[in-house]
Amino acid sequence: MMLRLLTAILALVLGQAALPALAQNGPLRIVIDEGVIEPLPFAVPEFVAENAAAAEYAQNITRVIAADLEGTGLFREIPREAFLSTVTSFASPVQYADWKAINAQALITGAVSVDGSGRLSVKFRLYDVYSQAPLGDGLQFGGATGSWRRVAHKVADQVYSRITGEGGYFDSRVVFVAERGPKNERAKQLAIMDYDGANMQALTDANSIVIAPRFSPTGDRVLYTSYESGFPRIYLLDVASGQRRMLDDQPGTMTFAPRFAPDGRRVLFSLAQGGNTDLYELDLQSGRRSRLTDAPSIETAPSFSPDGSQIVFESDRSGTQQLYVMPANGGEPRRISFGQGRYGTPVWSPRGDYIAFTKQNQGRFHIGVMRTDGSEERLLTASFLDEGPTWAPNGRVIMFTRETAGAAGAPGLYTVDITGRNLRKVPYQGQGSDPSWSPLQP
């Protein structure tokens, strides 16, 4: 008995000392739910000019790509002075260690050539430095030398898309109202430019007031409102040819605030008649007009959802200007804005997840976004006058008009990320308002 007891005690004591305190089965598991939000550092050595005629293009294309990416606020270019390696050949292997040493997480290499017929060819590769592997396949773009900016934008779109997983928006254009002159005598005309302010071209003369241009879903046509006849009328402009025609010329009415349907064959607009303003839909082929709202209040600024099933618009039917959503074929509108102040100019995101709007509250103007049911309202800007949002093709960036206060105040175009970060002025030298962002160009 004594033997057993002693043995048990001794084995228990030694066994407890030797056993692990607590066994753990399987791997260690942890949850990471916090991180940092910083621009991703990237390096883009100057593209290799494969012949003498391509030298200038190589330099310019590289600069445009870097500016595109850095302008998003999601990327940060590493200055060339920090490079440890040079890329002298497009086919040479990448020295990953050199790029990792300067904390480049993405590397873009490319080459440019111009053949005898003046055709530009640009090829590029994107590398994930820390994975030490290419990020996607190498691509080559070609075009006339005069379209070198578009080629650069397409390369930047590819890089943006491969890293973020979202579509790019660099190879796109903006139609807007270019303005000049003093505030009380301002000349306005339609103009079109690249998204970054380059290649600006006038679409109309400045003899009459024009407002609210809107791109078609294919980017080849523009709807706008002109006071050419003394009353606001809707016009349809073909961008390539410059030809235009007036839509729905009904005597005694005023038409304004047009916007294309997603199919490009119908147009939503507001029609004021007899002191009342309601929403109408016009079939561009047949010219048939149908009424969508019938209320004594003012309904205007309609915008289709991307799938064409719903319409968001502004109305003062509740006594103050608010946002409403209704079925595309008409029906009972549902109010979605309930905050303080007045809401207007709603625009449905091309991704369908948000609605951008202008809000006026306590003497300040804001650009904001909310879910399509009105939830998660978030104001992105605040200033003396912000208005007229328009979505980038990828639904992540909003462009809008900001006008400064005072007699010398002037309108300008700005962009902001839907997170509220990266507010930037579009590098367009003149004054501008009422922007409309085109879809990505083919």
Binding site: L3, R4, L6, T7, L10, A11, L14, G15, A17, A18, L19, P20, A21, L22, A23, Q24, N25, G26, P27, L28, R29, I30, V31, I32, D33, E34, G35, V36, I37, E38, P39, L40, L74, F75, Q105, D128, Y130, S131, I163, T164, G165, E166, D353, E376, R378, R396, T419, G420
Partner: protein, 393 residues
């Protein structure tokens, strides 16, 4: 009145007499006179003595030592055995190599460079030009430390007192079966359940009061190859049947055997623990990671996880990564893999995975702060990256 006058007068007189007799105002005794020998010099003699003290003039007569002429050719690699054999340096000759030296300074082709740095053969080494420029003292004669000089050891050999032959595996010999961990089929389930999914949704309060775990059954003793015989135990298997000692043994012997067996059995457990099975293959051993150690790892990864370029869909996608760790705390980059994802498309999961992978690679390059003594606890890590909390709603 007179008495006072008398006393005062007497006292004064006494004082005056004491001063005069004691020699208070006497001059101190004269010091012993110092006597110095003086030599009388004439003016010429004095001039002759002071002339060397004038300012020294630069001596132009003293020629500086000539700088030894340097051989401009690249110095050949000295042969160690050549120097002792040189009886006396030959007279410096006008070397032919300096003429070729400037060519070596020119940017040559790589092949030329290779030729210039190649040591010439020993008989052609021009030793003489080196002698004047040698700053180091000639080697002192060394004491004899070995009766016979031995050949220099191979470069890879380790210097030891007793020479030994390198052991190499005999291809003909039968290879012993290496000691291997106990293998067990990988744990599998019908669905992946991550820690994140196991977290209770009702806050931090405990939903139940689990009973402490029973001590796991000791695994069956695996067949071991020549276990080291414990010095304190005669037979390790003896405690397996502590209740059945040999009836013929005395009680004292049985007690000693049982105690020795218990000690050996207890001591043998730590060695077997890392190889034990815990349901999911290899069971971790050692104390578990503390909450602070887990947080340190979590923070280390978090500060490198950049979600700034993630798409909105990727920001709603949670991915689970598996990574094998090295004992140094660094991740094995090649082992990083996506185990599963939830909340988004595969494309979005790929975006989140790439950002998480970059975080592990970047911040793991210098090693994560993990206690090495608990390596078995973090030999494999599954990290769930959930960007949902950072998404702007």
């Amino acid at each position: 009145m007179n008495t006072g006058t008398y006393i005062s007068g007497g006292a004064h007189l006494g004082l005056i007499a004491w001063v005069m007799l004691a020699g208070l105002f006497d001059a101190p005794p004269p010091k012993p006179m110092e006597v110095t020998d003086v030599t009388i010099l004439s003016g010429d003699e004095f001039a002759a003595l002071t002339a060397p003290a004038a300012a020294p003039k630069p001596s132009q007569e003293v020629a500086p030592p000539e700088a030894p002429s340097l051989p401009r050719s690249p110095r050949p690699a000295p042969a160690p055995e050549a120097r002792p054999q040189r009886p006396e340096p030959p007279a410096p000759q006008a070397p032919a190599e300096p003429d070729t030296a400037p060519e070596a300074l020119e940017p040559p082709a790589e092949a030329d460079v290779a030729e210039t740095v190649t040591a010439p053969e020993a008989p052609e080494i021009p030793e003489a030009p080196e002698a004047p420029v040698t700053d180091t003292a000639p080697p002192r004669p060394s004491t004899r430390i070995a009766p016979e000089p031995s050949a220099p050891p191979p470069e890879d050999a380790v210097v030891a007192e007793q020479p030994s032959q390198a052991t190499r595996p005999d291809p003909a010999a039968e290879r012993p079966t290496p000691e291997a961990d106990e293998a067990a089929p990988e744990e599998a389930a019908t669905q992946t359940v991550t820690e994140a999914e196991e977290r209770p949704e009702t806050g931090l309060a405990m939903a139940s009061s689990p009973r402490p775990r029973n001590r796991p059954n000791r695994p069956a003793a695996p067949p071991r190859e020549t276990p080291p015989p414990p010095e304190t135990a005669a037979a390790p298997q003896a405690p397996a049947e502590p209740d059945a000692p040999a009836e013929t043994a005395s009680e004292e012997d049985s007690l000693a055997d049982a105690v020795a067996g218990a000690v050996a059995d207890a001591l043998s457990e730590p060695a077997a623990a890392p190889e034990g099975t815990g349901g999911a293959g290899r069971a971790a051993s050692g104390p578990p990671l503390t909450a602070g150690e887990r947080d340190a790892l979590r923070v280390s990864v978090s500060r490198c996880w950049n979600v700034g370029s993630l798409s909105t869909e990727a920001m709603q996608t949670s991915v689970v990564l598996g990574v094998d760790m090295e004992e140094t705390g660094k991740p094995n980059i090649g082992s990083i893999r996506m185990i599963s994802w939830t909340g988004g498309s595969e494309s979005a999961a790929r975006q989140t995975y790439e950002s998480a992978r970059r975080a592990i690679v970047m911040c793991g390059s210098s090693g994560f702060p993990l206690p090495v003594e608990k390596y078995d606890q973090w030999r494999q890590i599954e990290m769930t990256f959930d960007p949902g909390k950072m998404r702007i709603r």
